[in-house]
């Protein structure tokens, strides 16, 4: 019974009650049907009796008609066929009907016993009619006296017996009905009593079985509502309430886990709020530093702007100088070309001189030969040739001198030609150098113009940088305001965390959960408390610091504004 769930229990209880009700109603129904059957049978029996009497009378009439025929000679108009008289018609159809088959045995026997005497009666009637028609009136009378009268007597007896039998049956039925009615009353009474007892028992059992558990559940839910998550519902049942208790226990353990998590999270939030506060302080300091750095940057940018302007001026000057240098170098190139031409002329002249010297040399050689021949002749001439020999010697001398001079000139010319060649090379080189100088100067000019345009770009860039610095200054101001807001937010966050921790104190968690938490927080819980304390202690200081920082920031930013 205890293993059943509540639905089945209820089904069973109400099923039992319904079964009782059904039984009672069946009993009542059966009894009343019996009574009505009895009544019906009485009525039917009455009908049957009167029917039987009618048949008896009909046959009495039939006998009278026969006796009249015999004795008075009256026409016999009744039927001789046993199946065609009123009774016969009914009887044979009755005997073949279902009703007869279901009749009581006594009545059936009696009904069966009717057939023979009835048939004999009608056959006897036929025999009488035959005798009469044959004219044997005595025979007919004899037959009538000996056969027909006993048969009809017998038939009457059976009729009476049938009526009596029917009356007996009715009486018996009436008695039966009365008996069953009283039995029914008793049975209904008993069933009702049993029903009442069963109902009370079921009500008691169910109330005890369900209500106690429900009350236990209500207590548990009240505990949860109070925030006590330490108690579990001790209800070891397999029905819906057991399931409910199990789920409630699950809920309690989940809730206590959740509460533990929330407590831990609130600690984390408190820590984080502290860190955010510290970060804000640092941020405030950095914002200050940023502002001063921006100031320096602005000053530097101004210097840079003036430098760039100077740069542009210098570049312009350099460009002009480069142009001058280029012109000069081009002039130099022209000079070099002229020099090259002059050198070529010198070289040509040197060649001509060399040719002339060749001629002079030839002449000197020939003169020398002549002088030698003269000397030889003079030697041959002996004493007379002496003076001639002297002249020849002088001529040879002159020839040799002119040859030597020619040789010297030749060497000089050779030297000068070599030098001219060398000079030519040098001039060529200097021409090339000048060309490359000109190229370099062009490049310098280009570079200088590039520098000039770059300076222009720099100037515009510096303007943009200046704008950017101004924007940055605005941003730094906004940052300072944000830092202030953030400080306030972190303060309220810390307060919120504290509130959360207070709210979480509302919950009392289960023993095992709290044990777990103690294990976890044995080193953490105290620090948490101290943390909270620290936060509380620090709160005013922090606020002060923040206020001071904000003021400082405000002052500085204002100063900066003035400077900018």
């Amino acid at each position: 019974m205890l293993k059943m769930n509540i639905r089945n229990k209820l089904y069973l209880a109400f099923g039992a009650m319904i079964a009782l009700l059904v039984i009672t109603s069946v009993i009542i129904n059966v009894t009343s049907s019996r009574l009505s059957e009895a009544n019906k049978a009485v009525i039917e029996q009455g009908d049957f009796e009167s029917q039987m009497k009618t048949f008896q009378k009909q046959h009495a009439d039939w006998i009278n008609a026969l006796s009249d025929h015999i004795f008075v000679g009256a026409e016999f108009s009744k039927t001789l066929n046993p199946r065609e008289c009123g009774f016969g018609k009914w009887y044979y159809s009755y005997m073949e009907s279902e009703e007869f088959k279901n009749e009581e045995p006594e009545k059936a026997r009696l009904m069966k016993s009717l057939e023979e005497p009835h048939r004999h009666l009608h056959e006897g009637g036929a025999s009488v009619i035959e005798e009469m028609n044959a004219g044997h009136k005595a025979n007919a009378m004899k037959f009538y006296q000996e056969n027909t009268i006993p048969v009809i007597t017998k038939l009457d007896g059976i009729y009476s017996e049938l009526v009596d039998n029917a009356r007996d049956v009715i009486e018996k039925r009436k008695v039966d009905a009365a008996t069953s009615e009283s039995a029914q009353r008793t049975l209904v009474l008993l069933t009702t009593l049993f029903g009442i007892l069963l109902g009370v028992a079921i009500a008691f059992f169910l109330s005890r079985n369900i209500v106690a558990a429900v009350q236990q559940m209500v207590t548990a839910i009240k505990n949860i509502a109070r925030g006590d998550l330490s108690k579990k519902v001790e209800l070891n049942r397999s029905d819906e309430l057991g399931e409910m208790a199990h789920e409630l226990n699950n809920m309690i353990s989940d809730l206590s886990k959740l509460v533990g998590d929330v407590v831990v999270s609130s600690e984390s939030v408190a820590n984080a709020a502290d860190q955010i506060s510290a970060g804000n302080q640092e941020l405030s300091q950095r914002t200050q530093e940023q502002a001063s750095a921006l100031e320096e940057t602005a000053a530097t940018i101004e210097e840079m702007a003036s430098t760039i302007k100077q740069n542009a001026e210098n570049a312009r000057n350099a460009n002009m100088l480069a142009k001058d240098a280029s012109d000069l170098a081009q002039n130099g190139g022209q000079v070099v070309e002229e020099t090259v031409a002059s050198m070529g002329e010198v070289s040509d002249a040197s060649k001509k001189i060399a040719d002339i010297i060749d001629v002079v040399n030839e002449i000197a050689f020939q003169t020398n030969l002549l002088a030698l021949n003269a000397a030889v002749e003079a030697a041959r001439a002996g004493e007379q040739g002496k003076g001639f020999a002297v002249v020849a010697g002088e001529v040879r001398n002159l020839a040799q001198r002119s040859a030597e001079a020619a040789k010297e000139i030749q060497e000089l010319i050779k030297d000068s030609v070599g030098k001219v060649d060398k000079g030519n090379k040098l001039v060529e080189e200097s021409g090339k150098t000048l060309k490359s100088i000109i190229d370099s100067i062009h490049k310098v000019a280009e570079t200088v113009s590039e520098i000039s345009s770059a300076s222009q770009e720099q100037a515009t860039g510096i303007d943009q940088v200046n704008k950017a610095v101004t924007m940055m200054d605005d941003v730094v101001q906004q940052n300072a305001a944000l830092v202030e807001e953030s400080a306030a937010a972190s303060q309220s966050l810390a307060l919120e965390a504290e509130e959360l921790q207070k709210s979480m104190a509302f919950f009392i968690v289960t023993n095992d959960a709290s044990l777990k938490r103690e294990e976890r927080t044995s080193g953490e819980r105290k620090p948490r408390l101290t943390l909270i304390n620290k936060a509380q202690q620090r709160e005013p200081a922090k606020v002060r610091a923040k206020a001071a920082g904000a003021e400082d920031l405000d002052i500085e930013t204002e100063e900066e504004f003035e400077e900018f």
Binding site: L369, L372, V376, A379
Partner: protein, 165 residues
């Protein structure tokens, strides 16, 4: 100074008589001398006619004012390296054993006077070396002049060959 020395040499030659006068010429580095009386004429290089099947030192023949003069290269005769002729190459026209021949030399230097004291005997080499055509070594200032005996330079068979030429 050099000029003064030369003048002095010429004067000496004049004072000492023709027998001691020499025409000096160069072959390569060395200076050679021949007696001035053996020299008929000194001419510049001229084109000459080449003659077939003669010794290599015989260069050909020269038309000297109508007479045919054989020309030989003294360098080749003395087994020295051949030198290309140029405008300053000189041909000495010499009288050798009543024949006139042309001798090609590098250049003619001078006409000098050498006293017998200035001429020393040819030093004796071993008997295998022919030095009979060297008359002696003339000493002049710092340098030595190889004095040639022109009559002995050419053997009689060679001279005959020149005749044919």
């Amino acid at each position: 100074m050099v000029r003064m020395d030369k003048l002095k040499g010429i004067n000496q030659a004049i004072s000492n008589g023709a027998g001691d006068q020499f025409v000096t010429f160069t072959l390569g580095e060395e200076e050679y001398g021949v007696e001035v009386l053996k020299v008929q004429e000194i001419i510049g290089y001229q084109r000459f006619t080449k003659v077939p099947s003669v010794p290599s030192f015989v260069k050909g023949v020269l038309n000297l004012r109508g007479s045919v003069v054989p020309v030989l290269d003294l360098r080749l005769k003395f087994n020295m390296a051949y030198r290309e002729y140029d405008n300053f190459t000189v041909i000495l026209i010499l009288e050798v054993q009543e024949r006139v021949i042309g001798v090609i030399v590098d250049a003619v230097s001078d006409v000098v006077n050498l006293s017998p004291d200035d001429i020393q005997q040819t030093p004796d080499f071993s008997s295998g070396i022919r030095v009979d055509f060297i008359k002696g070594m003339g000493r002049m200032d710092e340098k030595l002049i190889i004095i040639l005996d022109i009559d002995r330079i050419l053997s009689s068979s060679e001279l005959a060959l020149l005749d044919v030429a």
